[in-house]
Amino acid sequence: MKTILFIEDESALQKTFGEILTQEGYEMISALDGETGLALAKEKKPNLILLDLILPRVNGFDVLKQLKEDEGTKGIPVIVLTNLEGIGDVDKVIELGATTYLVKAQYSLEEVVEKIKKTLGEL
């Protein structure tokens, strides 16, 4: 079973995604802040990471940077899922090595799931 780590401080979203990803046959691990997210990524080595940018303790930009600097987590694809949509933010995130940048307001739940499957090479 493939594992997805969801680093997001909104527990409502954790719940929604937990439901849909479990139904799709994935195991989802939750992290409600950046620090926990980083620790879990290193420990569990998930197949994919969903990452918000505005996070308590360590923000998403720094999480992404540290993930890509660590040999053990470098290869894990990261989908950034956020409401920040400044032009600078997108460029910065892609430069840091994220696979995809999704603005929450612009995607439906099914579309996000589709992106996840595509990134995992299942579509």
Partner: protein
């Protein structure tokens, strides 16, 4: 550190960008100009004074008095502008913070409704679906408003930068038209685009121009009366590419026409036909087109329709 701070204060263009104001409204810049005026006035008074007044002490006194008066005036003026600039900056920041804070709960809501509607949590009855749809549509409306507010706060900052490149306005318009296809077909509206062959590309920020075309087309369709038609054309006029969109909609009453590009303004008859609408679309369009070095305008007659146009530069 202190020296760096002083240097930062002296970097007037940067200070003005912080307030996101044009240079002539920026307190620091005004203070500099006032200073130059004071020095100029002093020199002038001194030159004229020494020619007509013999006693150098009196000349000195006149110069000092004049400096003092001018300095006080300059101080009062820039103080006023500083407060204005600060208020302006806070307003933009306020909009941006509020809309970001609104966005998170709205996306939580949207995705939770989608999950409910998908039937993944158990079968959903017809009546329930109907009400879920109401929830979905209304949260989408809020989301649109928030997104408009964010766009406004973004285009209003002078640090707002355009990523200019060459692109085909025709292709962009066709892409936007595709987004409206389902809606257009279901409302029995005729959409038509005519263009000259081999038109040069425009030089602008395609992402922002897409917002403009999207807004204009949305307006044309939204305020159309039954089974109307929307005609668009793109052609070259001198050194610019000219875009025009003509609808057979409700039109804009004469008395509202001069306010139509103002922020939050909605024409009186518009509110009668459509409760939705933030009054921000045309303001956004005008700001973007003008910042891109283009022009925007319209002709309209109430009950007959409106024609909006804009022209963008070629590289």
């Amino acid at each position: 550190m202190t020296a760096k701070k002083i240097l930062e204060q002296l970097n007037i263009p940067a200070q003005c960008r912080r307030y996101s104001l044009p240079l002539w409204q920026c307190p620091q810049f005004l203070f500099l100009i006032m200073g130059l005026i004071i020095i100029g006035a002093n020199l002038l008074t001194y030159t004229i004074g020494t020619r007509f007044i013999e006693d150098p002490i009196i000349v000195a006194l006149i110069v000092i008095t004049l400096t003092l008066i001018l300095f006080i005036i300059a101080f009062i003026i820039t103080q006023g502008f500083e407060r204005l600039a600060e208020a302006n900056r806070m307003k933009t920041e306020f909009i941006s913070i509020v809309s970001h804070q609104l966005r998170s709960p709205l996306s939580n809501l949207k995705w939770a409704i989608e999950l409910l509607m998908s039937g993944r949590l158990g079968e959903v009855g017809e009546k329930q679906t109907e009400y879920f749809r109401i929830l979905k549509e209304n949260s989408a409306r809020m989301q649109e408003l928030v997104s408009d507010l964010l766009t406004v706060s973004r285009v209003e900052t002078s640090s707002f930068s355009l990523k200019k490149k060459d692109f085909s306005l025709i292709e962009l318009t066709e892409e936007v038209m595709k987004e409206f296809e389902i809606f257009v077909r279901s409302s029995n509206i005729k959409l038509d685009l005519k263009f000259q062959e081999n038109l040069p590309k425009v030089f602008a920020d395609s992402f922002q121009i897409r917002l403009v075309v999207d807004n204009l087309l949305d307006n044309a369709i939204r305020y159309i009366t039954k089974g109307g038609e929307v005609k668009m054309k793109i052609e070259r006029k001198n050194s610019k590419i000219y875009f025009e969109i003509k609808d057979s909609g409700v039109g804009i009453p004469q008395k509202d026409q001069k306010h139509i590009f103002q922020k939050f303004f909605r024409a009186e008859n518009a509110t009668r036909y459509q409760t939705q609408g933030s009054g921000l679309g045309l303001y956004i369009a005008k700001t973007i087109i003008e910042k891109s070095g283009g022009k925007i305008g319209f002709k309209s007659q109430e009950g007959v329709g409106s024609t909006f146009w804009f022209a963008l530069p070629i590289k």
